[in-house]
Amino acid sequence: MSYVKLTRDQIAARIARDIPEGAYVNLGIGMPTLVGNHLPKDREIILHSENGILGMGPAPAPGLEDLDLINAGKEPVTLLTGGAYFHHTDSFAMMRGGHLDIAVLGAFQVSVSGDLANWHTGGDAIPAVGGAMDLAVGAKSVWVMMEQLTKGGESKIVERCTYPLTGIAVVKRIYTDLAVIDVTPGGLVASRLVPGLACEELQRLSGVPLSPSAARAAA
């Protein structure tokens, strides 16, 4: 059977739908930022930005940018009614202290036990970590948003990360362009595979053991 990969916006929309009302959420820089465009309008979800914002809103209309109001990716944003500002140390206390319900992060690799590698490709690159490690250890649930495979066709879900780690056993769920994969004590569990993709084929592509979700039929 043939299947069509989800676009980044489709993955983002899927993640957005899974965020419950009232959740405090940090969207990592890069791909996860897209999730903000898909949040259901009928739910109040409170976005946190590491640089001292709760209740972060969407980008301002052109011409209304305020350079004192930016997100972690340094792009202009807005503040929702009910939002608040605070300083960096308080902001990271929220992250490290387990007050965020969900952090959606990009990744280079995720291991079968939930190890995350998303800050450094090693080698000659100048390393830069930002707030990635704080989010990885701090959020109640770390969700990864990434493509299932690298451009070269290698699985980004691996037995053991070869890139430098961001955190150990921190990832709870992986949203890819092919499926949703939960990291459970019993191993990886796949659900919501794109139509036409069998779990066996996903496992073959991934090169790691994957079981189908019991709830798959319902997805």
Binding site: L54, G55, L79, G82, A84, A93, R96
Partner: protein
């Protein structure tokens, strides 16, 4: 819609379990969540650990909770005041455990709980009876003791105003332990004199962002003002 406003102090406290650790705000008469403490007494939870700067005065508030026999242990910095006789009697009778913690360490240990810090070295108490039995370390030639977080199951704090997202502002020195305790408990309940519309609190002036607050409950100011006059008389 997020709505953290609870209809009553009773509703706000309904799920407090026996054996809980409860962080209770206030320093002297300022910032004491009196209505929440009264509701906790009425609610009936037992075998509690109370974290508060003091150990109760007279026979109201924390002292009333002690007198009702609900408290197994109190963690505080200053249990001895002119009218802390309820605590005194229980303590001397061996009916309550006291964990005496220097005030700054008390606050910092709760801050550590809220901030995800596993433990910290502080110079406070080094070489004293309150540092005894604790791990120590010399850092830059100065003695330090290792202190661990104090986590609450519940925090009861008093603020001035709050909104339905749980954002809070305080009044003058009634702020005291409120913001830190709010961050350090699984369930934080704030009593306020005014619940305001979302957006009525300036985002620059919010002291406790709603992420730290589970429930907000309005209590009448009139009663409080009367108490103030009585106490001042």
């Amino acid at each position: 819609m997020i709505d953290k406003i609870a209809p009553s102090v009773e509703a706000a406290l309904a799920d407090v379990s026996d054996g809980s650790t409860i962080l209770v705000g206030g320093f002297g008469g300022a910032g004491v969540p009196e209505e929440l403490i009264d509701a906790l007494i009425a609610q009936g939870a037992r075998d509690l650990t109370i974290v508060n700067n003091n150990a109760g005065n007279g026979e109201v508030g924390v002292a009333a909770l002690l007198k009702a026999g609900r408290v197994r242990k109190i963690v505080c910095s200053y249990p001895r005041t002119a009218d802390s006789y309820v605590f005194d009697a229980l303590y001397r009778a061996g009916k309550i455990e006291l964990d005496l913690v220097p005030q700054g360490t008390l606050s910092e240990r709760m801050r550590a709980a809220g901030a995800g810090i596993g433990a910290f070295y502080t110079p406070t108490g080094y070489g004293t009876d309150l540092g005894k039995g604790k791990e120590t370390r010399m850092i830059d030639g100065k003695g330090h003791v290792l202190e661990y977080p104090i986590r609450g199951d519940v925090a009861l704090v008093k603020a001035e105003r709050g909104d339905r997202w749980g954002n809070l502002v305080y009044r003058k020195s009634a702020r005291n332990f409120g913001p830190t305790m709010a961050s350090a408990a699984k369930c934080t309940i704030a009593q306020v004199y005014e619940t305001v519309e979302l957006g009525a609190l300036d985002p620059e002036h919010v002291v406790t962002p709603g992420i730290f607050v589970t429930r907000v409950v309005k209590v009448p100011r009139k009663k409080q003002a009367a108490q103030v006059r009585e106490q001042a008389a």
